[in-house]
C-alpha cells in the first residue's frame, strides 16, 4: 500500500515545503519512493501476483477496487520511480526544481502512474488514467511558455476525447463480465460478438492511440513538447506515453483479443506509417525539440506495431524498447534543454560548433545520439532487432517499412547532432555540463548498456506475467496465435 500512497502523501507535503527546501526534499522523496519500490522488487518472486488491496466484496456498479502487481506492472512501477528521480536530478540546477508546486505535481503524477500500473479494476484504471492528466496539464499550464494556450487546448481536447471513448468502452465492457475486476474482464467471453468486441476495443485503443501517439492522432504532440518546460516534456515522453503502451499489453490484448483481430492490421499499418512519417518529417525540422518529438512518433510507431502482433517475443521486445525509449527520451530532451538553457534557442540553424567549446557535452550528446539510433551494446539494439524481426515475420512489407527507421533514424539524429555540435562555430560561449547533468547522462548510459548486454533480465521479469495472462484468457485463445 505504501507503494501507491507514499507519492500522494509526499506530493501533498511538497506543496507546503518552504522554497529553500523544495529541491533536496524533492530528490530525497523521489529516491525514497524508488527505494520502496526496490524493496518490493527484492521481495518479489517473478511468478507471483502480489495483491496490494483486495477487498472480498463487490461494490455497487461492479467496482472491486483491486490493486496489485505482477512482473510487468512492477517493471513499469520501477521505471516510473527511476525516471522521476532522474528527471528531478536532471532539473536540479534549474529554477523549476525549487518550485513547490512543480515538485508536488510531479509526485501526484507519480501517484497516478503507479496507481494506473497497479490497478486491477477497469474503472480504477480509467480513474488513474484521467488523474494522471491533471498534474501534467497543470505543469504545462503553469510552467510552459506563456502563449501556449492553443497547444494546450489541443493536447487537452485530444486526450479528453480519448478518455471519453475509453470510459464508454469500459462501461460497455460491464455487460460482458460480472464485475470490473481485471481477472473477470480478461475472462470476458466475446465468442460470437467479435464485432462488439472490436468496437469496444476500438474505443480503448483510441485513447491509447492518442496518448502514444499513433500516426493521425499525433498533432498535439509536437506543439505540446515544444511549449512545455523541459521537465514536462520528459514526464510526457518518458512516462505518460508508456501508460498507453502498458495498457495495450496488460489490458487491451487479454480482454478483447477476439475483437482485436479486426484492429490488428489497421493499427500495425498506422504504426508503420508513423515510423516512416515521423522519421521523414524529423529530417527537416529545425527545432531540436520538435525534431525529437517526431522521432518519438517514429520510435513509438514501431513499438505499437510490435505489440499489436500479439506474439510473446514481440511483446517482450516491446518492453525492452519501452524502457529504452524512456532512457532516450530523458536523454535527448535533456540535451535539448541544456542547449536551450545556455543559448535560449533550439534552432539548429543558430547552433553549430558547440562540441568545440563544450567537449564534455559534445561527448555525452554523441553517446545519447548513438543510444537513440540503437547501436550495438544498447538496449535499443536488441529491442529494435527483435521487433523488426517479428514484424518482418508477420509480413515482409511492414518489416521493410520498420527497418527504414535504421536508415532514417541515423539521418535525422546525425543531422541534429552534427548541426548543433559540429560545423561552423556560431556558438562561442557555452558552459559545459554541471555535476547533476553528468550524473544523469552517466546513469542513462549505464542503464542503456546494461539492458543492451543483458536484456534477459527484463524478459525474465515479464515472461511469467505474460504467461499468466495467457492462462487467464479463456481456453483455446493464446497470445501467440
Amino acid at each position: 500500500m505504501e507503494l501507491i500512497f507514499l507519492p500522494l502523501i509526499l506530493g501533498i507535503i511538497a506543496f507546503f515545503v518552504p522554497t529553500k527546501w523544495v529541491r533536496p526534499f524533492g530528490l530525497l522523496a523521489s529516491i525514497s519512493i524508488l527505494a520502496v519500490s526496490i524493496v518490493h522488487l527484492i521481495n518479489f518472486n517473478t511468478s507471483d501476483y502480489v495483491m496490494l488491496f483486495n477487498p472480498a466484496e463487490i461494490f455497487p456498479l461492479g467496482l472491486t477496487f483491486k490493486m496489485g502487481y505482477d512482473g510487468l506492472a512492477l517493471v513499469m512501477v520501477l521505471l516510473t520511480n527511476a525516471v522521476i528521480s532522474i528527471i528531478l536530478l536532471a532539473n536540479w540546477n534549474r529554477e523549476i526544481s525549487s518550485n513547490a508546486r512543480f515538485t508536488g505535481l510531479t509526485f501526484l503524477m507519480q501517484f497516478a502512474l503507479i496507481g494506473l500500473f497497479t490497478s486491477l479494476d477497469g474503472i480504477l484504471f480509467y480513474t488513474f488514467w484521467e488523474l494522471a492528466l491533471i498534474p501534467i496539464f497543470l505543469i504545462l499550464y503553469w510552467f510552459g511558455k506563456q502563449d501556449n494556450n492553443r497547444a494546450l487546448f489541443k493536447f487537452f481536447l485530444y486526450t479528453l476525447l480519448g478518455s471519453l471513448m475509453m470510459l464508454l468502452s469500459f462501461i460497455a465492457l460491464g455487460y460482458f463480465a460480472p464485475n470490473y475486476s481485471y481477472f473477470q474482464l480478461v475472462q470476458a467471453n466475446f465468442v460470437g460478438k467479435e464485432v462488439a468486441a472490436a468496437l469496444i476495443m476500438g474505443g480503448i485503443l483510441f485513447a491509447f492511440a492518442v496518448k502514444i501517439p499513433l500516426f493521425p492522432f499525433h498533432t498535439w504532440q509536437a506543439p505540446t513538447y515544444t511549449n512545455a518546460p523541459m521537465a514536462g516534456t520528459m514526464l510526457l515522453s518518458a512516462l505518460m506515453l508508456k501508460m498507453a503502451l502498458y495498457g495495450m499489453i496488460k489490458w487491451m490484448i487479454p480482454i478483447g483479443f477476439e475483437g482485436l483481430v479486426y484492429l490488428k492490421w489497421p493499427v500495425i499499418t498506422l504504426g508503420g506509417i508513423g515510423i516512416v512519417y515521423g522519421a521523414i518529417i524529423a529530417m527537416k525540422q529545425k527545432d531540436l525539440k520538435t525534431l525529437f518529438a517526431y522521432a518519438s512518433i517514429s520510435h513509438l510507431g514501431l513499438i505499437a506495431a510490435g505489440i499489436m502482433l500479439f506474439t510473446v517475443s514481440a511483446i517482450e521486445a516491446s518492453m525492452i524498447q519501452i524502457i529504452n525509449h524512456s532512457i532516450v527520451a530523458v536523454a535527448l530532451f535533456l540535451c535539448a534543454g541544456i542547449i536551450e538553457d545556455r543559448l535560449n534557442t533550439r534552432n539548429i540553424d543558430d547552433l553549430g560548433g558547440i562540441a568545440k567549446v563544450a567537449p564534455h557535452f559534445g561527448f555525452w550528446f554523441a553517446v545519447m545520439t548513438f543510444i537513440s539510433v540503437s547501436v550495438p551494446f544498447t538496449a535499443g539494439f536488441i529491442g529494435e532487432f527483435v521487433l523488426i524481426k517479428e514484424l518482418f515475420t508477420a509480413h515482409w512489407v511492414i518489416g521493410i517499412t520498420a527497418a527504414s527507421t535504421l536508415v532514417f533514424g541515423a539521418v535525422y539524429m546525425l543531422r541534429a547532432y552534427q548541426g548543433s555540435m559540429f560545423g561552423p562555430s556560431k556558438v562561442t560561449v557555452f558552459a559545459d555540463l554541471k555535476w547533476n547533468e553528468y550524473l544523469v547522462f552517466a546513469l542513462l548510459t549505464l542503464a542503456a548498456i546494461g539492458f543492451g548486454l543483458y536484456p534477459q533480465i527484463i524478459i525474465d521479469f515479464i515472461k511469467p506475467s505474460i504467461q499468466f495472462t495467457q492462462e487467464l484468457m479463456s481456453g483455446d485463445l493464446t497470445l501467440t496465435k
Binding site: K154, L157, Y158, P216, H218, T219, Y277, I280, I281, A282, M283, K284, Q285, T311, V312, S313, E316, A317, G353, A355, K356, F370, V375, P376, F377, F381, I382, F385, V386, I388, K389, F392, T393, G399, I400, A403, S404, L406, V407, A410, V411, L414, R415, Q418, F422, G423, P424, L453, Y454, P455, Q456, I459, T480
Partner: protein, 642 residues
C-alpha cells in the same frame, strides 16, 4: 591457458585498451597512450599467432546468452576456425602496424587519446565481426565498426576549414552503411525464420544436409547479405561513401577503409559460402556488380588529383575484383586477394600518409613531385606498393590477381577481357600517381619544399614491414599448377571452412595456359609502367586543369557524376517530401483538420444559440407549434393508419 580463455583475451584486450585510454588517456602522456593501444593490439596478434599454430578443428566458445525469446535465442558465442583466425591475424597484424604508424602520425594532434580509443574500439568491433560464431555477433561487430568508422572519419570535425566536410563525409558513410545493415538485418530475419538459429556451423550443417530444401530461401538470403556487403565493402550502388571517407586521418583510411573493415563484406560472403553456393543467381549478380565496380572505380581513379582519393577508388576497384572472385565461387582466391590487398593497400595508404605528413597536410598531387630524394624510405616502400598493386611479376598482387584472372578466363573470355581493362587502368592510375608524386620537379613552391622531411621511425618501420609483406605475400598461395605441392598453401588451410563446395583450382586449366595468362599480365604491367614513365617523367606531363580536359577525362574527374545523380534521385525527393509533409499535410490536413472539427462544433453552437432569443412570445410560439405538431401527428396517425 585454454583456447577459450585465449580467444576471449584476444577479443577483450583492445576493449580494455580502449577503456583505459578513454577514461584516463587525457591525463596520461602521449607515449603511454599510444604504446598501450599498440601493445594491446600487438599482444592480440601474438595470441592470434599462438592460436593459429595450435589450430586443429572448429572450436565454439560460449560466453553468455544475451536473450532468449520464444523461438530463438541470441547468444554471445565465438568461433575459432581457420577463416576467423586468418582474418584475426590480418586485423591485428596490420592493425598493430597502423597503430604504431599513428603514434608518429598523430603526434601533434590534440585528440591523441581519443584517436587511440576509437582505433582500439574499432579493432575490438572488427574482432567481434570475424570471431563471432553466429550472425548476431557478426551483426554486433558489423554495426560496431560502422560507428567507429563514423567516429574516425569525422575525427577532425573541429577543423576550421574542413570540419564541416569531414563530419558530412562521416555521416554519409554511416547512413550508406546503414542501408547495407538493413539488408543484413533482413538476411538474419529470414535465417531465423527458416533455420531458427544464427550459428554458422548449424546453418551450414542444415544446408549441406538437404540443399534442395533451401534453394529458394537461399536466393533471398544471399541477396540481402550481398546488399549488406555492398554497403560495407563499397560496391555499386553504395560505394560513394568510401572516397568521401578519406576525410578521416590517413591511418584510419589505411586500417578501416583499405585493409580491414571494407573487406568485411567479403568475409561475410565467404562465411556464408554454403548459402551462396545454393544461389547461382545471386552469384551472377555479384559477378556483374563486381565487374562493374572494378571498372567504374578504376576509371574514376585515373583522373583524381587527391592522393588519397586515387587510393580510395583503387580500393573500391580492388574490392570489386574480390567480388568477381566471389561471384565465380573462388572463395579462397578472394581471401588471398584480401590478404595481399591488405598488405599493399595499407602500405600505399601509410605511404601517402607519410607523404601528406611530409607535405604539411597537402594532398593535391599537382603540388607534389620529386619527393623521391626528400623522402627516400617512403619513396622505396611506395614504389613497392605500386608495383605490387599494378601486378608487377612475382610480387604479392601479381599472384593474387593472377588467380582471379585465371578463374575469369576459365569462366568466360569476356569477363577476362573486361577485367584486363580494369587491371590496365589500375596500372595506369597507380604509376601516374607514383610518378607525379615522387618524380619530376617539386611543384609546391619553395616555402613548402623547405618543410618536406622524411617521417620518423615509428612511421617508417610499419612501411618497411608492410613493404616486405607486399613483396613476399604471394608465397602464401602460389599457383598450384606451376609450383605443385608448394602451391595453394592458404587455400588448403582455409578449405575446412568452405564446406567442400569450393574449387581451389580452376577446372580444366593446364599449366601452359596459366603461364601464358601470367605473361600477359606481366606484359601489361610492364608496358604501362614504361608508358607512364615516358609520359610523366620524360615529358613532364602534369595533371591537367579542368578546362583542358576532354569529355572522358571530365567524366573521370567528376566521378561519373554519381554523387550528383544520387542527390537528385534520392536525397532531394526525400527532403522535399519532408518539407512538404511538414508544411502541407501536417499543418493543413491534420492540424487544421482538428481545428476544423472544433470550429464546426463551435459554429453549430453559435447557430443554435440564436434560437434562444429571450423573447417569451417566440418560445411560446414554438411551444404551441410543437403541441399542435404532436396533436396533429397523432390525429393523422389515428385517422389514416388504423
Amino acid at each position: 591457458m585454454g583456447k577459450d580463455l585465449l580467444l576471449l583475451t584476444l577479443i577483450s584486450l583492445p576493449l580494455i585498451g580502449a577503456a583505459i585510454n578513454g577514461i584516463l588517456g587525457k591525463r596520461m602522456p602521449k607515449l603511454i597512450v599510444g604504446s598501450l593501444a599498440t601493445m594491446m593490439v600487438f599482444v592480440s596478434f601474438l595470441i592470434g599467432l599462438t592460436l593459429f599454430t595450435g589450430l586443429d578443428k572448429t572450436t565454439i566458445v560460449h560466453l553468455f546468452q544475451v536473450a532468449k525469446f520464444e523461438d530463438f535465442t541470441l547468444d554471445a558465442n565465438f568461433q575459432l576456425d581457420s577463416l576467423s583466425i586468418w582474418m584475426t591475424l590480418i586485423i591485428t597484424g596490420i592493425g598493430s602496424l597502423i597503430h604504431l604508424f599513428s603514434m608518429g602520425y598523430m603526434s601533434h594532434d590534440e585528440g591523441y587519446h581519443k584517436f587511440f580509443t576509437y582505433l582500439n574500439l574499432f579493432i575490438f568491433s572488427m574482432l567481434l565481426l570475424v570471431l563471432g560464431s553466429n550472425y548476431f555477433v557478426l551483426f554486433f561487430g558489423w554495426e560496431g565498426v560502422g560507428i567507429c568508422s563514423y567516429l574516425l572519419i569525422g575525427f577532425h570535425y573541429n577543423d576550421a576549414e574542413k570540419g564541416l566536410a569531414n563530419s558530412l563525409a562521416a555521416r554519409k558513410a554511416f547512413i550508406m552503411n546503414r542501408i547495407g545493415d538493413a539488408g543484413l538485418l533482413f538476411a538474419l530475419f529470414m535465417m531465423l525464420n527458416h533455420f531458427h538459429t544464427l550459428e554458422f556451423v548449424e546453418i551450414g550443417k542444415m544446408v549441406t544436409a538437404s540443399p534442395e530444401l533451401y534453394t529458394g530461401i537461399a536466393g533471398a538470403i544471399t541477396l540481402c547479405l550481398f546488399l549488406a556487403a555492398t554497403g560495407k565493402s563499397a560496391q555499386i550502388p553504395l560505394f560513394t561513401w568510401l572516397p568521401d571517407a578519406m576525410a578521416g586521418p590517413t591511418p584510419v583510411s589505411a586500417l578501416i577503409h583499405a585493409a580491414t573493415m571494407v573487406t568485411a563484406g567479403i568475409y561475410l560472403t565467404v562465411r556464408s559460402n554454403f548459402l551462396f553456393e545454393l544461389a547461382p543467381t545471386t552469384k551472377d549478380i555479384i559477378l556483374v556488380i563486381g565487374i562493374a565496380t572494378t571498372v567504374v572505380a578504376a576509371f574514376i581513379a585515373m583522373r583524381q588529383n587527391d592522393i588519397k582519393k586515387v587510393l580510395a577508388y583503387s580500393t573500391v576497384s580492388q574490392l570489386g575484383l574480390m567480388f568477381v572472385a566471389l561471384g565465380m565461387g573462388a572463395y579462397t582466391v578472394a581471401l588471398f586477394h584480401v590478404t595481399t590487398h591488405a598488405f599493399f593497400k595499407a602500405l600505399l595508404f601509410l605511404g601517402s600518409g607519410s607523404v601528406i605528413h611530409a607535405m604539411s597536410d597537402e594532398q593535391d598531387i599537382r603540388k607534389m613531385g620529386g619527393l623521391s630524394k626528400l623522402t627516400p624510405i617512403t619513396h622505396i616502400t611506395f614504389l613497392i606498393g605500386t608495383l605490387a598493386i599494378a601486378g608487377f611479376p612475382f610480387l604479392s598482387g601479381f599472384f593474387s590477381k593472377d588467380e582471379i584472372l585465371a578463374h575469369a578466363w576459365m569462366s568466360s573470355p569476356i569477363v577476362y577481357g573486361i577485367l584486363m581493362i580494369a587491371v590496365t587502368m589500375t596500372a595506369i592510375y597507380m604509376f601516374r600517381l607514383y610518378f607525379l608524386v615522387f618524380h619530376g620537379s617539386f611543384r609546391g613552391g619553395e616555402k613548402l619544399k623547405s618543410h618536406v622531411h622524411e617521417s620518423g621511425l615509428s612511421m617508417t618501420i610499419p612501411l618497411m614491414v608492410l613493404a616486405v609483406l607486399s613483396v613476399f605475400g604471394g608465397i602464401l598461395n602460389l599457383p598450384g599448377i606451376v609450383f605443385h605441392d608448394a602451391g595453394h598453401w592458404m587455400s588448403h588451410f582455409l578449405e575446412s571452412t568452405t564446406y567442400g563446395l569450393n574449387q581451389i583450382e580452376p577446372e580444366h586449366m593446364d599449366g601452359n595456359q596459366s603461364i601464358i595468362l601470367m605473361c600477359i599480365a606481366s606484359a601489361v604491367a610492364l608496358s604501362v609502367m614504361t608508358w607512364a614513365y615516358i609520359t610523366y617523367v620524360k615529358k613532364q606531363a602534369v595533371a591537367k586543369e579542368d578546362a583542358d580536359m576532354n569529355a572522358w577525362e571530365k567524366l573521370s574527374s567528376n566521378k561519373l557524376y554519381i554523387d550528383e545523380i544520387y542527390q537528385t534521385i534520392f536525397v532531394q525527393p526525400i527532403l522535399w517530401l519532408s518539407t512538404t509533409l511538414a508544411s502541407q499535410f501536417e499543418q493543413r490536413v491534420l492540424n487544421n483538420g482538428i481545428f476544423r472539427l472544433t470550429s464546426a462544433i463551435e459554429a453549430s453552437g453559435n447557430y443554435t444559440r440564436k434560437w434562444q432569443s429571450g423573447f417569451l412570445s417566440s418560445y411560446l410560439f414554438w411551444m404551441v407549434m410543437g403541441i399542435i405538431g404532436f396533436i396533429s401527428y397523432y390525429i393523422i396517425k389515428s385517422t389514416f393508419w388504423n
